[in-house]
Symmetry: C2
Subunit: 404 residues, 2 copies
Amino acid sequence: MEFSYISHLHCPKCQKEYGFVEIQQLCACGSPLLVDYDLPKLKKNWTLASLVGRSNDLWRYHELLPVIDPKNIVTLGEGMTPLLRMDRMGLSMGIDHLWMKDEGIIPTGSFKARGAAVGVSKAKELAVRELAMPTNGNAGAAWSLYAARAGIKASIVMPVGAPVITRNECAISGANLNLVNGLISDAGKIVAQAVKEHDLFDASTLKEPYRIEGKKTMGLEIIEQLNWTVPDVILYPTGGGVGLIGIYKALKELIELGWIEEKLPRLVAVQAEGCAPIVKAWEAGKAESQFWEDSKTAAFGINVPKALGDFLVLKDIYESGGCAIAIDDASLLEEQKKIARLEGAFVCPEGAATFSAARRLRESGWIKAGETVIALNTGSGIKYPETVRVEVAVLEPGERMTRG
Amino acid sequence: MEFSYISHLHCPKCQKEYGFVEIQQLCACGSPLLVDYDLPKLKKNWTLASLVGRSNDLWRYHELLPVIDPKNIVTLGEGMTPLLRMDRMGLSMGIDHLWMKDEGIIPTGSFKARGAAVGVSKAKELAVRELAMPTNGNAGAAWSLYAARAGIKASIVMPVGAPVITRNECAISGANLNLVNGLISDAGKIVAQAVKEHDLFDASTLKEPYRIEGKKTMGLEIIEQLNWTVPDVILYPTGGGVGLIGIYKALKELIELGWIEEKLPRLVAVQAEGCAPIVKAWEAGKAESQFWEDSKTAAFGINVPKALGDFLVLKDIYESGGCAIAIDDASLLEEQKKIARLEGAFVCPEGAATFSAARRLRESGWIKAGETVIALNTGSGIKYPETVRVEVAVLEPGERMTRG
């Protein structure tokens, strides 16, 4: 039994293959690279029983992860986040089996910890000393903290509009933090220039191949938590789309391993009306998206005007029989409140959008009665204090409590 | 096999016994009540193997929890938080085996979720419709959200100085939130009056017997995660002290069950110099603490001038051969930065204080070479943005990244 069954990397556009013992960024053709494993060999050596007694984090799936030597693992205990029944929300929208995969319950409070844990671990294995990346906040926070744990220097560029708490996370970790008066695309250009000038490791979304492997574990966990059955629909808030690509990749690997039946959930890319390039492309049946001008949404994590992996996201939606849908900010903020009041979960605006999407898709009949639906909440609401307005009186000691 | 082996409640002061099928608050003598289980019977029926395949949350220990019917469980997936090696921090202070139990990775971002999950579940089982409590922020947030999930109405009173994000959590859950221009002791008086006037369930710290049972699971988990061995020292940031009392209770139950050897870790109550009533009492060898006038600390969660359970905390420290120590704010905030830079963990100020305490106790020789030490981080740093100062330049699109 090897620790990892990684075999090589390949380009999904031109099919060129690459090794995994040296640093890789994009394919020569400009496409992101994907990681392959020796699944036939793993299929022979691995059974469900192999998982018994393993660590309760994403490293329980180490054979399907790219880190070769366990001593390179940089972990803060990420993964195996709760899969929660959302019965009262389900009732409110006529969905019998509604679940939330809650990625707020993870180091750094967002699903970005998964990509950072695996990406930084592999970077450590490849002896990376300094990395740089643009971010909408949460990814930069996660990579800063994991890089600190690994002893890797991190430079982070984020829009001034990104959640303020993510600045704190970068700063306290000792990362080199830069803000830009623009969007993540502007931050990306600044990072690209620095990478070129200073020969840094480029940890931008999909510009290194391993972040997606970390995100993939969301798919593995959902399936294990559903006792190795496949749900009908998974709704995913889509900015860069790495999680959606990763979940789809996980499912296909599990099918090839024979661990699940040959059925794929319909993947739904949920975007904001103020930034919906994938939705626009999907509606037009296109293979790629176009840059979305003047994008704007309260769901800051999905304010990505053009994703490098858009063609993969669209391919996965088409193949799985899924769809793409845009939600307006007012609706998703209203949904966020409803989730807290009915279910006691304070989710991030991006996560709330997936519930709005489920509600609309059930109304339209796209989600059918009796189906099992997973809404993915990508982060904790406590990172977005500005989404909640609190107006309460301040009592003096000895005064009487109001009764609400 | 019963789901819960709860047998009765008892008063640790006057030894009076109470039943568990009706609502109980304090003992008639004014003391908090503790929960007892039929441990001899459980010892016969339960083995370590019983835990295999159980849910990875605190409910895996349901036999040692007070909820009788599993359908009353109100859960957001709380518990089994990471126990992380802190090797670089350990090296910096000469402690060979330093671990952090990270209670930031839990619903609502603080260990208060444990008390709320078990307390609210039991309240639901007892048909409570409306509860009230004072809070330093995190407990109110947790109880608000769990109460919302349970369909119980919650009234919360917190100091204006409590972490702002905890207001948002209460508000979005639909709780009746009141702020008071004072301390938690002032909030407590306001709640006590409302409880009396409106016959509400009083969910104040230790005024209901079940919160402590939720906190207890931190002790159970630490022991399970150390593969059923007992550490030498556990450091706990002590405000109300419920977690410390709970961890000690868990250890004694495990000894009675024969699951661990008859050895107790030395419990360390860590307080802030600006609010150290337990430390003062311990230094004087007293059995109870005195109200701490004009208390003040950046570690807001441990700004508790007089804890109802102080006599239990002090008893547990004495019995376990532990100690109590106060840390100044400057030191704990400096420690918070060091933890982020060396270990990639953004902990709360209360949690940082336990590392400062470990450092001093190792310097003084109280912690000896080779000992296994657990520092308990009670919450996520992302709930305390004001502890980090961020000063960075804002770039315009096209400008060059700084190199830090």
